[in-house]
């Protein structure tokens, strides 16, 4: 599949997961209202969503500055001014130029650039829209990659901003929060002998269907936090694939990103300075899946990033280059 088809596929898949996500929230909310509040009006679901949204939006607006501060990022201009080494200055100028070139290719204003003093190669983007965006790269990334590979990584990060991924992941965080809240309230309610409406007896027919609904709903509410997290990570992985394809559209050079990812994968240590909250905006999982986390279905389901091998294979396909045979 070429890079335009990849983008279309990833956008479709995102919305399929989002529909399931929202439907799941409604299902939980509806059941909660029916069983605990005895009403058809979606009160609880709505309230849970609003609360989740408030928390998520607070993170959204405070997000960028907090994330950058916690990772020890230094603005590029400052780094350039205080850098003694000529070679390093050339690299930093190259970084600035590479970001500006990608901004031109995307038709967007140039984002702020920061450098993180960490030896592990990684990068992330923050910012609620293209006018307020920042990109941060680690020193390890600057050392490991050449100019075109650096450009590919920058293109990937800018694509996250371009595709409004920060907004989407904020919405997803709100949904996850709402689902967790509903689950929490339901379990508390159960402990205190809730389900008053059941005792009150809504007396309508279809007792069998109601029991089936109840059982399904109980299973759902118990598993809700896990299901919510799994769905959120599914969205995160789709957006990573989309950012890969979008970035390839900017550079028209998918192979450069494939090579960059290979180099990044090789440096297997986790990136200590990038905290958990921004994991899904980085180019590589900073929590280091290779280093210590289990492989297998569970790890795959809750990973914020798709496996590097698959990403590289997809990029090579976009470049019409045969896949690497890993002997």
């Amino acid at each position: 599949m070429n890079l335009l088809e990849q983008q279309a596929k990833n956008r479709r898949r995102t919305w399929m997961v989002m529909v399931v996500f929202i439907a799941f929230l409604f299902f939980l909310g509806y059941g909660f209202d029916l069983l605990y509040l005895g009403t058809d009006v979606p009160v609880a679901g709505f309230v849970a969503f609003i609360v989740g949204l408030i928390f998520a939006l607070t993170g959204y607006y405070k997000g960028a500055a907090a994330v950058l501060a916690s990772s020890g990022a230094v603005p590029l201009e400052q780094q350039l001014a205080s850098e003694p080494s000529d070679e390093k200055r050339l690299k930093l100028t190259g970084l600035r130029n590479v970001v500006d070139e990608m901004a031109i290719a995307a038709g967007l204003p140039s984002p702020n650039v920061c450098v993180i003093p960490d030896h592990d190669p990684n990068a992330f983007a923050t910012g609620r829209d293209p006018a307020h965006a920042s990109i941060a790269v680690t020193e390890g990334l600057l050392d490991a990659l050449n100019r075109e590979e650096l450009q590919a990584v920058v293109a990937h990060e800018m694509s996250h901003v371009r595709n409004y991924d920060i907004r989407l992941m904020t919405l997803v965080a709100a949904l996850v929060g709402a689902i967790a809240l509903l689950s929490d309230w339901a379990l508390r309610g159960m402990r205190w002998g809730g389900g008053g409406s059941r005792r009150g007896g809504r007396g309508k027919g279809g007792g069998g269907a109601a029991v089936v609904f109840l059982v399904l709903w109980l299973i759902a509410i118990l598993l809700a936090p896990i299901i919510g997290q799994a769905l959120a990570m599914m969205v995160s992985r789709r957006r990573e694939y989309l950012a890969d394809a979008s970035g390839a559209e900017l550079t028209r050079n998918p192979l450069a990103l494939a090579k960059a990812l290979e180099k990044i994968e090789f440096a297997a240590d986790p990136t200590a300075s990038i905290k958990r909250g921004t994991a899904n905006l980085c180019i590589a999982d900073p929590l280091g899946r290779k280093a210590g986390l289990r492989e297998g279905l569970v790890a795959d389901l809750f990973a914020s990033h798709p496996p590097m091998v698959k990403r590289i294979a997809t990029l090579r396909e976009m470049a019409y280059v045969p896949p690497v045979s890993r002997a």
């Binding site: 130029n97 031109i104 290719a105």
Partner: protein, 189 residues
């Protein structure tokens, strides 16, 4: 009875809203396309401004390459004074080729590689060449988006009656640009 009066009214209102939305979208894309075209000029001008600096920096070291240096300076002068887009496109192409020859010859001068100013200047110049390329790429991307919006159904029914025309994509006019560039790195001089 009131309902049957209301329904066609609602339909008309929806259609009007759709036409307004489509028209505004096409206006937005047309302006972005025009802006994209101007951005190419911005980068071309940047290149014009960087060249005198480059020539004066390498002149001392590359004194035997006077011909090539002169060619670059003359090509730049011609590009600056070009008339009209077709003429400008040709002159800019010649300037690109002259710069290419200069950079190829610079490989023969190791002193230049040690010089920090030269390296920075080369980075700036090659970045400007990249920016020209990316500006053209963006222009083609946004022009294609504009054309698709005009030509897909149902917008195509009214786009032309509002006066929207298909945008031209940036194309190579000089066949020489399609040829693979040859670089002579031999030590003959």
């Amino acid at each position: 009875m009131g309902f049957f009066l209301l329904l066609p009214l609602i339909v008309v209102v929806l259609i009007v809203l759709w036409v307004i939305g489509m028209y505004n979208r096409l206006i937005g894309l047309r302006n972005q396309t025009a802006n994209g075209w101007r951005q190419i000029d911005v980068q071309l001008k940047r290149r014009h401004d960087l060249i005198p600096n480059l020539v004066s920096t390498v002149k001392g070291v590359m004194e035997f390459e006077r011909d090539t240096l002169t060619q670059v300076v003359e090509a730049r002068a011609k590009a600056v004074s070009a008339t009209g887009p077709a003429d400008a496109a040709r002159k800019e192409g010649e300037l690109t080729q002259a710069l290419g020859r200069l950079f190829a010859l610079a490989e023969n001068y190791p002193q230049l590689h040690a010089n920090e100013n030269v390296k920075m200047l080369q980075e700036e110049l090659s970045s400007t060449e990249n920016k020209i390329g990316f500006a053209r790429q963006f222009y083609n991307d946004i022009a294609t988006k504009f054309n698709i919006s005009q030509q897909t159904f149902p917008a195509n029914m009214i786009a032309s009656s509002f006066g929207f025309k298909a945008a031209e994509l940036f194309e190579i006019t000089d066949q020489a640009d399609r040829a693979v560039p040859t670089v002579d790195l031999s030590m003959r001089k």
